[in-house]
Subunit: 229 residues, 2 copies
DNA sequence: TATAATTTTTAGTCTTGTCTAAAAAACAAT
DNA sequence: ATTGTTTTTTAGACAAGACTAAAAATTATA
């Protein structure tokens, strides 16, 4: 429990605050309405009580709106801050893959640290140096300087039905286990694939990639973003 | 005052700890013998009492040796850790200047943040990407993976006497005021210069740079490293 | 609608890293 | 050798961010 003693006006956010904002940003997109305390705690691997505490302080700072028991929502100021952190994360990922030749399954944790480096000038120069990329190595869009993301109409592979074709444009899950699994099957951003069959009872699929055909579980299909063609 | 309750064995150092180690490393080189509490406090802009506290905890962790009232000295483990931080700092500075085209007076603060990113793989790849540089943009040597620095026989400009010549190989002071001052006089790493005259009573000098001749204060001369030729 | 289960919040504690004020040690000077 | 000054250390407090245990609010269930 924290007792508020002084009001302060600093526009810099701590590492912990930035992580909370980022998490709330992501959770907001998945589920409409306020983001619940437990959902945040789950995603951040902390306890709900810690979340309540922080969320109340963030509300005081004006970056989220929050009513007790009703969950949290980002204000426009909060959303912009969160998008800024995500922008940095994704730009650094591009740097790590394009320039330092890291593999796409190795960059997440390092980018988690780099996203908290504070320097507007740095990120602008990095952006330019990388050729103003629109997507990170996992196909996620990079927010612009104002925090805007152009949304693309992508679907989960699991939403496609038999005979539909498309291009892999991103992954939802970014764990190295999953990414390495995709590598073994030669699936990466830009890979063309088509659905040969879909099983109703377990959601599994048979897909074609190049001249290979193989089985894909529901879980896999729910973590691959496709742009249908 | 901190009470020690549990012994722990983690080999990761916090941001604050890394900064203390780095500071002690630098202070050790300037003055022989243990580094005093006040010296650390001065350099880090903290209070001596905070230093005592931290220094005692660092001693428990085995990275410095410390006797009450006698100052602190890095152990080999501590020195290696400190050199690792400095290695990262300087490699990032090279990146910022060489790749992102920052000016040498703009990189210090950003590198202060980047030096705390934890990833061995990252720094090895960065090193390679930059062409395994030996010196940072200010002429300071970059420690190798094991924390060893090859020492060069450089002198301060203030140590030279009339008619001696040399090449600027580094700066001691790295404030942007000083670096911008040097820029105005076209002095940078690699600049050849010669001492035309030296005034005894105030340590000022007349030097030649290219076809320009100008006056230089004692303070300036004490912050420029020269390799005599 | 009353009760049970779940979610969320409060209260209190802990750790790291900081601070101030005061005590103690070390150094300087008569 | 005693006194004074400086340096260093101790003691106690505070803030951020986390935790546990318990209380309160909400939601689900019968």
């Amino acid at each position: 429990m924290h007792i508020k003693k002084y009001v302060y006006f600093c526009h810099m956010f701590s590492l912990a605050e930035e992580n909370y904002l980022k998490t709330i940003y992501h959770l907001e997109q998945e589920s409409k309405g306020g983001v619940s305390t437990n959902a945040i705690a789950d995603k951040m691997d902390t306890k709900p009580s810690s979340v309540t505490d922080m969320v109340q302080r963030l509300a005081e700072k004006g970056v989220i709106s929050y009513k007790k028991y009703k969950g949290a929502t980002l204000t426009s100021k909060g959303r912009k801050t969160a998008a800024g952190v995500i922008r940095k994360h994704r730009l650094w990922e591009v740097f790590l893959v394009d320039k330092l030749k890291f593999h796409w399954d190795e960059v997440h944790e390092i980018a988690e640290q780099l996203e908290h480096i504070h320097s507007e000038e740095l990120i602008n120069r990095l952006d330019k140096y990388l050729g103003n990329p629109d997507f990170d190595p996992h196909g996620d869009p990079i927010p612009d300087k104002n925090g805007n993301v152009k949304k693309t109409e992508k679907k989960l592979l699991s939403e496609l039905s038999k005979k539909q074709k498309g291009v892999c444009v991103g992954v939802k899950e970014t764990s190295s286990e999953f990414l390495q699994y995709l590598d073994k099957r030669n699936i990466t951003i830009g890979t063309k694939l088509s659905v040969l069959g879909k099983e109703f009872f377990d959601g599994s699929m048979i897909i074609q990639v190049g001249r290979d055909q193989f089985f894909i579980s529901k879980k896999t299909a729910e973590n691959l973003y496709i742009q249908t063609t």
